[in-house]
């Protein structure tokens, strides 16, 4: 190694991650971001200042010791970096790909004050991918406690909670309603953003910790929460997410060619509709597709539509660009791939033809008024600005709510008027004793990493409970205040 050739740390710019070229990737489902090379990784790792009081850890919902793993990278110790990273995060290959780092760890990085922050997400992905390539090994485990815990849902919250509980020595069973584990990681996030092989590897890792996985078991239908306690589980964690689609309740929404983003993405991702007819589930995409919404799900749906061969894909969003909740990188990716943004626009009616198929959509222009409860400026329709949009497919990506199915015969579980379950933020305890909850089922649709954080906190609290360190369950009123 020629030491003299290495540039000074302060001169190194933030390293871009190689990606598939837009004109190529817009027609395939392979991963867009290709990951750092060893050289790029080394340069980027070198940029970290190793702050005495690192802000980045505070910015991370699962409080990964970021400087610790980057220090190992600076020292050229990949194995050490992996140990440091996995100590706090059970699913880093996923987080490195789908976390909104720009609003979390990277948002508070000191380097970001004058220039660009360390590309923490890209480094995290590098370490995780390296470790997967080496074959994962089982970390240190506590001795078996003999206690059984049921985890409902195998998405980010459930997987994280299960992995931590297993490491604490408990016997964990995950119950998954679908035929494949991963929750939103499998049915929601597309292959080109999060390869399913990665999810599979991370699930296998969780199973390697001794976690049992029962698929095709719908809690609330096949079994109820009461059944789980009757079957001998001493604690139950609910991580069933927010899987219920929302529609706009405008005329024409049930015409053929109108999808919920959930249906569209489930067909494409879980059912591999893009491989039809080799895989049996079809997905029908038209010539001109409107995707209504401005979040990550909207970007995913738009980019899938492009890849399925649509001539034109239009994002229809009622606010402006700055209010879009999607991850900045995904908005850029979508734009590069040719997705058109029709902002400050809201659908008011969908037109159908004689056979019941979508033939167009009536929209209205919006302007921004005063900030609303969410802190974002409220969109207000501009009177008389209606216009028709020539589309034959409409995908509604308007957010999701928790699925109430899990609450069937589940007495004592209080819910809010938004359908989310009432749970303490720091412990995940619900209003029913021995039932914890975390992730989107508590917060409503949020991020993978915040769900993982909640799963982690609940696992710690469940562990304290099973060890007899918790003697009184928080009363319902307190939980509601929380």
């Amino acid at each position: 190694m020629a030491e003299a050739k290495k540039p000074k740390r302060e001169k190194i710019p933030r390293q871009e991650m190689p990606r598939q070229a837009p004109e190529v990737r817009r027609r395939n489902f392979n991963e867009v971001a290709l990951g750092y090379t060893p050289e790029l990784m080394a340069l980027e790792a070198k940029r970290c200042l190793q702050c005495k009081k690192p802000k980045c850890i505070e910015g991370c919902p699962v409080r990964v010791d970021i400087p610790a793993f980057i220090l190992k990278l600076q020292e050229g110790d990949l194995a050490g970096a992996a140990v440091a990273l996995y100590a706090d995060n059970n699913l880093p290959a996923i987080c490195g790909r789908v976390c909104p780092q720009e609003t979390q760890c990277e948002a508070v990085c000191v380097l970001g004050k004058k220039g660009e922050p360390v590309a923490i997400g890209r480094l995290e992905r590098y370490v995780a991918d390296w470790r997967i390539s080496q074959g994962t090994e089982v970390p240190e485990m506590a001795p078996p406690s003999g206690k059984r815990v049921a985890v409902v849902g195998s998405g980010p919250a459930g997987l994280t909670c299960a992995a931590d509980l297993a490491r604490y020595g408990h016997q964990v069973t995950i119950f998954e309603a679908l035929h494949a584990p991963g929750g939103v990681l499998i049915y929601g996030i597309p292959e080109f953003r999060l390869p399913k092989a990665i999810v599979h590897t991370e699930v296998e890792y969780v199973k390697s910790l001794g976690v049992e996985l029962i698929l095709n078991c719908v809690i609330g239908k096949t079994l109820t929460i009461d059944d789980l306690f009757d079957d001998g589980y001493e604690a139950v964690f609910l991580g069933t997410g927010a899987g219920l689609p929302m529609f706009m309740n405008i005329p024409g929404e049930n015409y053929n060619g109108v999808y919920s983003a959930n249906e569209f993405l489930t067909r494409v991702n879980l059912m591999k509709g893009y491989l039809f007819p080799e895989w049996d589930t079809p997905v029908r995409i038209g010539r001109r597709v409107a995707v209504v919404g401005g979040g990550n799900v909207a970007m995913d749906a738009a980019r899938c539509s492009m890849r399925l061969g649509a001539d034109e894909v239009i994002i229809v969003y009622r606010r402006s660009r700055v209010e879009m909740p999607a991850r900045a990188e995904e908005v850029e990716n979508a734009e590069e791939e040719g997705v058109v943004f029709n902002l400050l626009t809201n659908p008011v009616e969908i037109y159908g033809d004689d056979n019941g198929w979508v033939r167009g959509m009536k929209c209205i222009r919006m302007e921004l008024g005063e900030p609303d409860a969410s802190g974002r400026r409220r969109p207000i329709p501009i009177e008389g600005s209606e216009f028709d949009m020539d589309v034959d497919t409409v995908i509604m990506a308007l957010g999701t709510r928790p699925n109430p199915m899990v609450f069937t015969d589940a007495g004592g579980l209080e819910r809010t008027r938004w359908g989310t379950v009432v749970a303490d933020e720091t412990t995940g305890r619900t209003t029913r004793e021995r039932v914890w909850a975390g992730g989107d089922i508590v917060t409503g649709a949020a991020t993978v990493i915040s769900a993982m954080g909640a799963g982690k906190r609940a696992a710690a609290d469940i562990d304290r409970y099973l060890r007899g360190e918790i003697t009184t369950w928080m009363p319902a009123e307190e939980a509601q205040k929380a």
């Binding site: 239908k221 096949t222 899987g243 529609f247 049930n254 053929n256 039809f276 589930t281 079809p282 699925n403």
Partner: protein, 281 residues
């Protein structure tokens, strides 16, 4: 997991399978459905439960080979396993002692009407059943349905067996002759359920139908199965599958059932071709 314990041909078109699924059988009730996948690459197929045995831990399904997936399912043999089998899904039939009820099963709909008739009979109702099909070969379970009915009327569209009539004809006669019919259940193809509902409507007899819309997950996640009932959008998988037939927007249901007609035909044709090649024809 999900082993096929028994297989039976019901005529030349319909097939019956008994599936080993103890968890599903433990909770199954009349009117509910399951979702199964034949192979890893398979689609999720919703099928209404035809029978269940809680002691043996089995679920009976009856299906007609109408496309690639059902044809593929029909090729499986006793001892084979399904890729997945989920349930029981949907709301069960609301079973009470209503008095006199009529259960109408058309074609493959004879299968799901059977456990409903049985449950209604067990609840103390006078059960009059009507089963019918296009032709004799499509009829099945006459004896089974008769065993749980106080009266059974059998008909075929072409008169090849029993009475030559559509199921709506004896239903209309019953409505005219008996003023004490409290409720009618009708299960079969959408068109048959539509006309069953139209038949009873002038008599003001409550009519429950079991809708067979396109589904993916079957747990309320996707909304593929949405229908309009009484002017409101409902999900068949979680709000149904049973609804008031007089309130259902039948044209919408039937339009939505045709969404993937082109793709379904393509998959079916390619699969039939592949089967012929594999069998060396």
């Amino acid at each position: 997991m999900y082993e096929i314990l028994a297989k039976e041909e019901l005529g030349t078109v319909n097939k019956l399978m008994v599936i080993d699924a103890p968890l599903v059988a433990r909770k199954a009730q009349a009117g509910q459905f399951v979702i199964l996948r034949v192979v890893e690459e398979g689609e999720r197929i919703p099928l209404t439960i035809a029978d269940f045995d809680r002691e043996k831990g089995t679920i009976t399904i009856v299906f007609q080979e109408v496309g690639k997936s059902t044809m593929h399912l029909g090729l499986l043999q006793v001892g084979d396993e399904l890729a997945s089998f989920t349930g029981p899904l949907g709301r069960p039939t609301e079973i009470e002692n209503y008095g006199t009820v009529v259960c109408v099963g058309g074609g493959v709909g004879i299968a799901p009407i059977y456990p409903i008739a049985r449950a209604l009979k067990e609840a103390g109702n006078e059960v009059i059943s009507i089963i019918g099909a296009r032709t004799k070969d499509l009829l099945f379970w006459e004896d089974k349905v008769r065993a749980v009915s106080d009266e059974l009327i059998v008909c075929t569209d072409d008169g090849s067996y029993a009475r030559k009539a559509l199921v709506t004809e004896p239903l209309k006669e019953l409505c005219e002759a008996r003023k004490d019919i409290a409720c009618v259940w009708g299960i079969g193809p959408a068109i048959m359920m539509k006309f069953t509902s139209l038949t009873t409507k002038p008599f003001g007899v409550k009519t429950i139908v079991s809708l067979n819309s396109i589904m993916v997950d079957g747990t309320g996640m996707c909304g593929a199965c949405r229908v309009e009932v009484g002017g409101k959008t409902r999900f068949v998988c979680v709000d149904g599958p049973e609804f008031d037939g007089h309130e259902v927007d039948w044209d919408l249901l039937m339009a939505r059932q045709r969404i993937y007609l082109t793709e379904e035909k393509r998959a079916f044709d390619e699969f039939k071709l592949k089967c012929e090649c594999d069998s060396g024809l």
